[in-house]
Symmetry: C2
Subunit: 241 residues, 2 copies
DNA sequence: TTTCTATTGTATAAAAAATATACATTAAAT
DNA sequence: ATTTAATGTATATTTTTTATACAATAGAAA
């Protein structure tokens, strides 16, 4: 399942903050590692010697969560000298679950390698919680979406990473929404507004949101959408090519 | 002068984009390496195993330029798989100058190490070109300030790093100006405006700049400054404690 | 002392952007 | 045809940004 650890760059890791949106709720994807006591970590992993870091982030996300073809954005490097996995590794000594490597193959060199200091490059993504169906089973036995306010205490600085990633997501939403591939091909203005309201955790006035969104100049209006509801049908929009 | 290379983290480097401001001009600090043909590189170096990356950036900057106690801001990671020093190293084979290591000590293992793929964490700073006096001689024989439009072609992606750093600097100027320690303890509004105009490369209306700057709420007004000029004396300001 | 000049502080007007409010439109059920 | 709920759009209000005007003043010159 895994490459031998010699192919990875030492002391370097990538962690992914995956925001999931669906139906006016925003959550974070957190794999839970089952040890003596439960341990939560962001989906993370290591960079191969011959791999772009952006590519590595995509691969890692796929390996740990099954999510593929996700648009990831680099947001911050976390590089304190004392940034170490040691606590996590200790817990794994008394566990039958895999972490980054197959536990059967976890020999002394690998353990040493893992216990060193790691500099982590943080990536974030925003995906549709329901549309994104893992194409392969994630290696982690348990993985779940957590609302921000229910986020478990994760290892190391992972909770801080989420906080920082959310700041950046909010700043970049206007310019990155298209890239996130969050909305369907065509969508109503209401759907866009719900995304914004959820991510910013605040309400916007409908009429003003509409004109602000259109003033960005990235949407084009299509035909109307007749849903069968007994009220005026909304227009559909899509991102300009 | 240098630590043995074994103390550095493999495949990881830091590059610094140092913006220098003085008297309405903005420049970039670029060490020139003297080989058969000239080579320019941003001041860069490597991270020790037991060192915070922020600390490493400060140390590297000091080693390569003599600049100490500079406020550095991380702005981007550059991590293409083909990001290699090889061209630079080749040039150094026919040169008597040091690069990252003392050339006398450049044995085969070090050369191999240096020729690998490097992921670089970009930092930038904004300093007063004239106030900042190197406390120690930089190791590079030649180092100079270049205006953006005169920037030489540097190695690898260093020119792109400057472009990206300038984007981030402009975005962050409002909130980071204090940290840059660019202005003297007390200063006039005109001095602030000159900094802004230079960095953004555009003029601002004086009266509007004044009210915008004050509306940030970070300045406090002190006494007037009598310079001997035959016109109304400006107030002095300083950053609120 | 008075006048003049260059620069600064500040007020105000004009324009633009953001926000609030109102109202007409309409798809489908009744 | 009437009603209802959501939508499109117009307009008013407020706030922010930008432009313009003008008074204040430190020192030089008259």
């Amino acid at each position: 399942m895994f490459e031998p650890f010699e192919n990875y760059l030492d002391h370097l890791s990538i962690d992914c903050v995956i925001f999931g949106y669906h139906n006016r709720t925003l959550k974070i994807l957190v794999p839970q590692l089952k040890t003596e006591s439960d341990i939560w970590t962001l989906p993370g992993g290591f960079i191969k010697e011959d791999e772009d870091i952006d590519q590595a982030a995509k691969r890692i996300l796929a390996e740990r969560t099954g999510l593929e073809d996700i648009y990831l954005e680099q947001f911050r490097v976390f590089g304190k000298a004392n940034r170490k996995n040691s606590m996590v590794l200790d817990a794994f000594e008394n566990s039958e679950q895999d972490l980054y490597f197959d536990k059967q193959l976890m020999d002394e060199p690998i353990r040493n390698w893992l216990s060193g200091r790691f500099i982590s490059i943080g990536y974030y993504a925003l995906v549709d919680m329901d549309k994104v169906v893992p194409k392969r089973m994630p290696i982690d036995k348990k993985i779940a979406w957590y609302a921000l306010e229910d986020l478990p205490r994760m290892i190391m600085d992972h909770n801080q990473q989420v906080t920082k990633a959310l700041d950046v997501l909010r700043e970049q939403l206007d310019s990155k929404l298209l890239g996130f591939n969050l909305l369907p091909d065509t969508f109503t203005m209401k759907e866009v507004q719900e995304v914004y309201e959820t991510i910013h955790d605040q309400k916007f006035t409908r009429s003003n949101f509409q004109s602000k969104m259109l003033s960005l100049g990235v949407l084009e209006r299509l035909e109307k959408k007749y849903t069968g509801a007994s009220n005026r049908a909304p227009y559909l929009y899509r991102f300009k090519k």
